[in-house]
Symmetry: C2
Subunit: 350 residues, 2 copies
């Protein structure tokens, strides 16, 4: 029998993280009688929503009547700036180390019922501009500035108001640390950036492309773990950090974000839940523009839904203890997303 | 101010996986208004339950009227034995490799309402004996045999009937591959097994011990990621695989499993959800007893609940994109578990 990647199980290598994913496409035939989730639309807007313009937050502070984006310190931060440091470890198996940082919340829009796919391109550009401001400021002091959005109750997001978080830390967290190592090893070996080389191939192969404009492309990575995972990659100039983007790249990014999220929402006709975030070259004192040619800036969308608005992929058991496993192939996921409308959101259909 | 690990954020190193976890104990003060889960007890037994004795399964096969454990092939396996192999990779960034294997389901007990903490010690011993049988058989052909239990709807477990799964694979999955490397590097450097050395320290420090009998100890690892994560470690003879256990170790294991799970259920007075599984030296052709002195057999319990029977820890956003983060310290978790009764299950209280 001839091997067909859409039918036959195999493992695929993720060169960015030096790990493998098990692809078992025949498993899509499995019936599902397990837990279902509340449909994303069921999350009601909270009248005491602390993120809305003018709201009194639990810290006693009041939000201004903001009209665009608005950033404030997280009232329950996982990272504080000023804490005592743990002592030097005495045993190699009991090592702890200092962790300092700061956590901020960034509202995308004053309207609590808004989401990225429903926002105007110019409004999304304001989000991107504020991300860049934040990275500019926090990146001077902190080694890593993680911008991320948890969207939907299923992702532990306690508030449907459109917002993201920014956690800046004195240490380089695991995920970017591994990506930094893998990209730097590839660069040493081949003399090119791993993701620049990867992108070149993807543009040739065209199998995993979901959307493309003159500045950005949305791809389901060859090694995607989540069913409809995508990666946003810049096409021109190989920016290493968000702060490297030029006006055309910012505009193109706003456009592709709106279109990708329109596709996502149209896929299962729901406000598509995910965690998304940005990965680029580390920051902090001593780093400068252009210092990390092994890096290529990219955004990741990690959405949990598998079969419908209420059935997600559970990353449990085998996944936690052994290796992640996916049911549909990245190429099948890309095709399904390509087939979804990227211009008209299902809520705006007449 | 003096550093207190129960108050001040820090990062801790996991030497088994070469990664770090962010510990932010002050975050326990955060109020929670996000998604809650259905209480675990709400999962009703299914009258068409395909796992019960005598049931007709969707494959058309009928279960025997089994009275103890019962193993059968998973009707929707993620791994098949006989599939065509993918071609050799042509590009370093697009690598796939063959994956063969087999997936089995193992029922613990004929009674669908039974769980480990409610079973008799002798019944749990039968589970352990069958695990050993399975590893003996599958370990001859396969490099890795992952025994794991997904318990509770919240863990994607579609059937409350007491059961686990066994997935055997021709490849060494990510998690055991990394653990194999880390343990082998430690062994090369210090001449001892990493976990044997670790265990020695934990028995001295006593801060993270939850339960102990003459053969086993249950510990919240220093680097635990999940709120009430524990590890079961054997005290004597440094067994490398489940198949190395002697009769006293099997009996002691059944006892500590019952007691640990009684504590877990008593913590929030619910049938405590988790993924659990076994990690030991890899198997397959050419491996023999005692060939992996860098390994120490251990079980992992990875339970998601954080604050109550309905509020779990979400591993999303920062965790997916940067680094796992925990709210209470491993020492606090161990103390809370120590304080729970290990003899009388809340359902049997009068
Ligand atoms: O138990 P099931 O229904 O086979 O499936 C469950 O466990 C598997 C192994 O951990 C996971 O891959 C699935 O996502 C989960 O739903
Ligand atoms: O958005 P919140 O409520 O701060 O918290 C949420 O996102 C955090 C960062 O991803 C996670 O650590 C929490 O587990 C999750 O509930």
């Amino acid at each position: 029998m001839e091997f067909k990647s859409t039918e036959h199980q195999h493992i695929r290598y993720n060169p960015l993280k030096d790990e493998w994913v098990l692809v078992s496409p025949h498993r899509c035939l499995r019936p599902w009688s397990g837990q279902t989730e509340a449909a994303p639309e069921d999350q009601p807007p909270d009248p005491n929503n602390p993120l809305r313009a003018g709201a009194l937050r639990s810290s006693g502070k009041r939000n201004p009547d903001y009209t665009s984006t608005y950033v404030f310190p997280n009232d329950f931060p996982a990272l504080l700036e000023d804490v005592p440091e743990p002592p030097e470890p005495e045993h190699p198996l009991f090592q702890s180390a200092p962790a300092k940082g700061t956590c901020r919340v960034m509202c995308f829009h004053p309207d609590s019922t808004m989401t990225i796919p429903l926002m105007k391109v110019e409004e999304i550009e304001e989000v991107i501009d504020e991300w860049i401001n934040q990275l500019n400021e926090l990146g001077q002091r902190y080694t890593w500035v993680q911008i991320f959005e948890n969207k939907g109750a299923i992702m532990g997001c306690s508030n449907p108001h459109p917002h993201c978080q920014i956690w800046a830390s004195s240490f380089l967290p695991n995920e970017p640390r591994i990506k930094d190592r893998c990209q730097s090893e590839y660069y040493a070996k081949y003399g090119n950036s791993l993701l620049v080389d990867y992108l070149k191939q993807e543009l040739k192969l065209k199998e995993r492309i979901v959307l493309k404009n003159s500045e950005w492309v949305a791809i389901v990575p060859y090694w995607a773990v989540w069913p409809y995972e995508t990666m946003l990659l810049p096409l021109n100039g190989a920016p290493q950090r968000l702060t490297d983007l030029n006006p055309a790249q910012k505009k193109g990014l706003a456009e592709i974000m709106k279109q990708l999220n329109t596709k996502y929402d149209n896929l299962f006709e729901c406000s598509f839940p995910y965690s998304m975030g940005w990965h680029g070259a580390p920051t902090g004192p001593g780093t400068t523009r252009g210092d990390s040619p092994h890096w290529l800036l990219h955004a990741l969308y990690l959405p949990p839904l598998l079969r419908s608005a209420t059935i997600k992929k559970f990353m449990v058991g085998f996944e936690m203890l052994a290796q992640t496993q996916r049911d549909l192939t990245p190429e099948q996921a890309a095709k399904r997303l390509r087939d979804c409308d990227h211009l008209i959101h299902y809520k705006n259909r007449h």
